[in-house]
Amino acid sequence: MPARTIPIGPTLDDLQPVAEFVETFCAEEGVPDGAAFHLSLVVEEAASNVIRHGYAAGGREGSLSMERDGDSVTVEIVDDGPPFDPFSIAVPDFDTPLMDREVGGLGVEMMRRMTDRQSYRRDGDRNRLTLIKHI
C-alpha cells in the first residue's frame, strides 16, 4: 500500500482528526490492538511536538504519513519549524519525588519504548522524524 498522509493542523484540537486517521489506518491495515495503541500514542506525542514547538516558533506546515510494509509500520512526521531533534531531550528521572516531577520528556520516552527504530534528520528546511514499529 502507498503511504497515506494527513496535514497536521495548527491547534491541539486539530489532533483529533490525526488520531482518527491513525485509528482508520490501523483498522484498515489490520494492525493488532496493542500495536495500534502504541502507534496512536507516538503519533500524538510527535504531532503535538510539531504544534507546540514547530508552529509556536514559526513553522506553518506539518504532516503525518503512515505506511505498512509487511510486518512493520513506518510513521513519518515532517514539519517546517526550526530544527528540533526530540531525541536530544533527556530521559526523565523516575526517582524524582512527586512534587518535583514534570512530564517533560515522557512523550519522547514513549517513542523510544513503543517503536523499534527512531530517527531524526534535518532535511533542507524541514524536520523529518521517522518511527518504525514491527507489528
Partner: protein
C-alpha cells in the same frame, strides 16, 4: 470527553470517559482541579472508562497529585485498563501515584 463526578467517602470520585489526550486534557484538568478543591483535596480518579492516556493526560494526573499533596489531602487512582497501566508504568507514575485496583478498595 465526558466527566462524571459523585460524592465518595469523605471526598469525591471523578470518572473521565473516553480519551485523556492533548485535545481533551485542558478541560479535564480544569474539571479535576475544581473537583479537588470542592472535595477538600480528597479525590479518587476512577479510570475504569478511560481507554487512552497520553503524556498530556499524565500531566493532568500529576497536577492533581501535586495539588492534593500540597494541601495534605488524599489522591487515589483506580481501575486502570491494561493499556493505561502500561503508560503509567513506562512513565514511572506507578512509583509516585497511589493506585488501587478497584473503586471498592479505595478509601477516602
Amino acid at each position: 470527553m465526558q466527566i462524571v463526578e459523585e460524592p465518595f467517602g469523605s471526598g469525591i470520585v471523578v470518572r473521565p470517559i473516553g480519551r485523556l489526550d492533548s485535545t481533551t486534557a485542558p478541560a479535564a484538568e480544569q474539571a479535576i482541579r475544581e473537583a479537588m478543591t470542592r472535595s477538600g483535596h480528597r479525590l479518587l480518579l476512577d479510570m475504569g472508562d478511560l481507554d487512552y492516556v497520553s503524556s498530556a493526560g499524565l500531566r493532568v494526573v500529576l497536577a492533581a497529585a501535586k495539588q492534593s499533596n500540597a494541601a495534605s489531602g488524599r489522591f487515589l487512582v483506580c481501575d486502570l485498563k491494561p493499556q493505561v497501566r502500561q503508560v503509567f508504568e513506562l512513565s514511572g507514575f506507578t512509583r509516585i501515584i497511589s493506585i488501587v485496583a478497584t473503586r471498592a478498595e479505595a478509601e477516602l
